[in-house]
Every structure is written in C-alpha cells, then in structure tokens.
Subunit: 316 residues, 2 copies
C-alpha cells in the first residue's frame, strides 16, 4: 500500500492507494501557498499521519510515499528545483519527507504523475509508448516510454507547453515567444477571444452570455459558443485547435507514441474537442498514409494526482 | 559477430562488426536505386556473402544482420513502409533477408541506426537519455531512452525534421509548411541564401567564390563565408541557427536528454557551428537557470551506418 500526495496551488490532497492503483481513502486541506515551504510541508506530514490513522492502518503498512508537485524536481536527489505557484525554489522535499517517515519518497511533476495514473488505470492502460497532455491554465505533459514514466536528465520532464510552434501576439511567462501554452491553453483561448472581440467589434453571443462583462470569460463559454456556431468563438477555437494540433504532431514526429490522451480542464469539452483535434491532425500529418497516434480523452479526474503519485513508488 | 548494412541512395555498404561495435571489415557497391527493389536486395545478399567469405569467416559466425534504411519500417514485421530515395514502398525486407540467411534480421531508419552507433562507441556513449540529429540534405534523428534505441509505435521513428517550428517561404516535401527541415537543413540554408542574394542584390563574397554561378552554392560555402564575416552569409546562418535552436529546444522540452549530438554533412562546420548553437540555445531556453542538454558534435563518420545497423542485433 502506498501514499500518494497531490500538492496543488490551492489544495493538498493525500490518499491511500493499493498496488493496483485503486484509491482507498483520501483527505485534503488548503495549501495556503503564501506561507513558507516548511509550513506547507509540515501540513503534508500531519495530513499523511491523519490519513493512515483514520483509515485504520499502521505506518508499517505503507511501502512508500509519492508526491506530485506543480513544478520541477531533480531526478536523483528529489530536490524541488522550482514550483512557481507555490513560491518554492530549491526545496529538499525528498530528504525532509524521508527523515520524517523513514520510508522511500518519490517526487515528480504533477502532469507526469497524472500520465502514470492514466497508464496504470486509465486511458493509456496497455499503451507502453504514450503521453498525456493536460490543458488548463497552462499546458503540461507526461510521457510513458517502454512502460516507464520518462524522466528527463535535468528534471525538466515533459514541458511540451514550452515547445515553440509559431509567433504569437504576446510573450509566454517563460520569457520567450511562441510557446504552445500561449496558443492552446485555456488562458490562451480566453486571451485571443478577448482580443478578437475588442479589435473586430463583431457581434457574438459570448457578450450576451457574460452580460457584457468580458472579465468573466472562461474557456468553456468560448467552446460552448463555438459549438452553437458563433463566428467569433469558432474563429478562436479554430486557431486554438490549429496550434494544439501542431504541438501534438511535433510530439508525434519526435516520439511516435501509440496513444495521446488529452486531460486538464479544457478536456471537459469532450468529444466536440476530440473530433476537432482528430480532424485537424489527420489533415495535417506529415506522412499522408501513415498510421499515427490515436488521440483520446483522459479518463481520470482529480484522483489522477494522488493515484499517479502513489504509483511512483511502484515504478521506481 | 554481426553484419551491419547501410543502404543509401547511392551506395550500399556492409561490414563485419564485433560485440563492442568495432568495424572489422567492410565492402560496398553502388545502389543503382533506379532498379526494382528485389534487384537491390539481391545485391545486398551477394555483398554480405562476399564480405563473410573475404574476411575468412563462416556464416555460422554471424549472430544477426542489421539494416539501416533511408526511410521507415514497421517495428514488428520489419516491413519497409517507404524509402522515397530508393523508390521503395511496402517491401518485406526482413522476411526476404531472413529467408535468405536463416538468421535474425533487424531493420531501422538510418538516422536511428547512426544514433545507436554514437551511443555504442561515439559521442553519446554513457548517455542513456540522448539524441543524434543529422543535418544534411534533410534533417533526421535518433533517440536513446533508458539506454535503448527508441522505436516509435508506427515506424515513424524520430522525424524531428518534420516538427513545425514557424512559417516558411516554401513548403516542405511532406506537403506541409514550417517543418524544421525547411529552415535548418543544408538545402534550406542554400535556398534561403539564394533568395537573399537574388532579392536584396547585396554584395557578397559568395558570388565571387562561385565565380558568379549560384547553382554551385553549397552549405559549406555559406558557412565559410559567414565565418569570414560576409553579411549575407551571416544573415542566412543566423536564421538557420535560430530555427535549428528552436527545433533542438523543442526536443529538449519534450525529452530533456542528457546530450544531443549534431551529425550529418553540415556538422563538418565543427566548433564554429557548435558555438553558435550553444550560444543561441542558452539565450533562448525556457527555464533561465536550469541546466539543459549538452550539445556536442557526432564523432563517427560514414561507418556509423554500418556499426549502428549491426548494433541493432545486440539491442533487440
């Protein structure tokens, strides 16, 4: 039995997970990320102890602890290099946790961990060469190669959101221009739609839906409006899909995976989104008659973070 | 002891290679690719038999035969999907060769095979997560993950030359626009330089070097002229390096390898090229203070094709 920890910007979730990836019991608390790292880590340890106690287990039942973080960690030392949302930089998370629990502790990026969960019990099951791309505020990714979660050599992991796919009207938070994330994240979709509305003054049902307040604009509103045939929304979604497809095709042309799953908040648009991606990819792939990766929707919800983190213990 | 076969557009080379990747003896003959596939394959079998005989070995000494092809092959069946330069499409190469020699035969893309050779005895030795990018007429690549040559799920292998990195003034041979190969191959460098010279009418020593005949333009002339400070050449090389760096950084942001080696004809520009790439990559990486892949020059020459092909037998 393993403990999986999902450290998010707003919430810490911990869970007991069995060898088959089944989530047996979970608990959570607010992250309050404005605090120093050591206070947040203290809360994680308290939460894990409560989890084990309340599920009527002993610490000796726990074979290891896996932690998914919204950032990068060094492969060998388990030192957190940086988590922008948490304000963490150079935090020796693995060492601190191993000292506290005297058990093996494994740390990885949250999108990588989610990919591992999809591989164990979700949409990537059985696909030994596959990838999960998460589309939300930003774009993240995790890669499975030969049945193992791929760890980069410098803790970068799969930063597909920062692959460059074109030139854009605004710069990425990483300081460069043209990152996939600035074309095909929820943030990017919202930003481009606002620009379209403000610049073209075209009529759009989006304005009605928001009762005139563009500050309330969410990716869902745009996707729903596009589904209803609204021209502004369709234009924005087409651009979003065009660049997302370039990003996916670049991944395909580098790794040629069997399956790519799409997860994250935007994937809630479901088959509508999937059909648009599939169509675009098939029209734009490099080798006309070659079979390429199947695109699918991620199957797991929020539990992916806990389950995948726990599965790090099994895969290491 | 293995036999390695390097099937090129102009030459077929075969060699005896020992377990450590040492090339012991080799032979070659012209490909004459205009002929039907079965005639070329017949020549390969004759050449292998001569090779074994002339090196005073027996067929029983040969543990397997590896073949590098300028195209794509299915992983499981070893069927060649397509080799454009050879005019091959759907050729059951593995089956034909195994029938002839009654030994295991392995087929892979020539750039993948070269990556394996660099990993065994060259610039990628010891780097279990690494890549070779070959820059010549086109751009190819091979990837090592966890000490194994990465094989895609649909025989695409590493087609990094067909990752999209921008918008270009001409389309790629694959039918799309923006492929890395159209920005950062020898062909691309020549094409852009010609365009610059024709459109800007700027003075350039390139014209003098070619005695006015732009049809003779080669990548080496442009790189040499840039080294001498010629403005047109510098402009063309800067653009070449800009997009090559985007391609390499995209690979880094997806796979985070330990080392990337640059091979192929263009890599003969050596440290001059390497320094330009390193500088550009360090100025444009996504995570300012993160360590990223070391860029280096491939160490092997033409023998990489034979050695890598032979090493397929060891790695399968």
């Amino acid at each position: 039995m393993y403990v999986g920890v999902d450290v998010g910007g707003t919430k810490i979730a911990v869970g007991l997970v069995d060898q088959d990836g089944q989530l047996l019991f979970q608990k959570s608390c607010p992250t309050r990320a404005e605090r120093p790292a050591h206070e947040v880590i203290e809360d994680i340890t308290v939460l894990i102890k409560k989890l084990v106690k309340e599920s009527h287990k002993e610490m000796t039942d726990i074979l290891g602890i896996g932690i998914g973080i919204p950032g990068m960690a060094e492969k060998d030392t388990g030192n957190v290099i940086e988590c922008v949302n948490l304000g963490w930089k150079h935090v020796p998370l693995k060492r601190l946790m191993e000292k506290e629990f005297d058990k093996p502790v494994y740390i990885d990026n949250d999108a990588s961990v989610a990919a591992l969960a999809e591989y164990e019990i979700g949409s990537l099951k059985g696909a030994d060469n596959s990838a999960l791309i998460t589309i939300g505020t930003g774009i993240g990714g995790g890669i499975i190669v030969n049945g193992k979660l791929h760890n980069g050599s410098h803790g970068i992991g799969c930063e597909i959101g920062h692959t460059i796919v074109g030139e854009n009207f605004y710069d990425c938070s990483c300081g460069r221009n043209g990152c996939l994330e600035t074309f095909a994240s929820a943030t990017a979709l919202i930003r481009y739609t606002k620009k379209l509305i403000e610049e073209t003054k075209e009529e759009t049902i989006i304005i009605d839906k928001l009762e005139g307040n563009l500050d309330l604009l969410e990716a869902k509103t745009i996707l729903d409006s596009a589904k209803e045939g609204d021209c502004v929304a369709v234009k924005a979604v087409n651009r979003f899909i065009k660049y997302l497809s370039i990003g996916l095709l670049n991944l395909i042309n580098i790794l040629d995976p069997e399956v790519i799953a799409i997860g994250g908040g935007v994937s809630k648009a479901g088959n509508y989104l999937l059909n648009l991606i599939e169509k675009n990819i098939n029209n734009n792939k490099a080798f006309g008659d070659m079979e390429i990766a199947k695109i699918t929707l991620a199957r797991l919800g929020n539990e992916a973070g806990i389950v995948g983190a726990a599965m790090l213990c099994k895969h290491m």
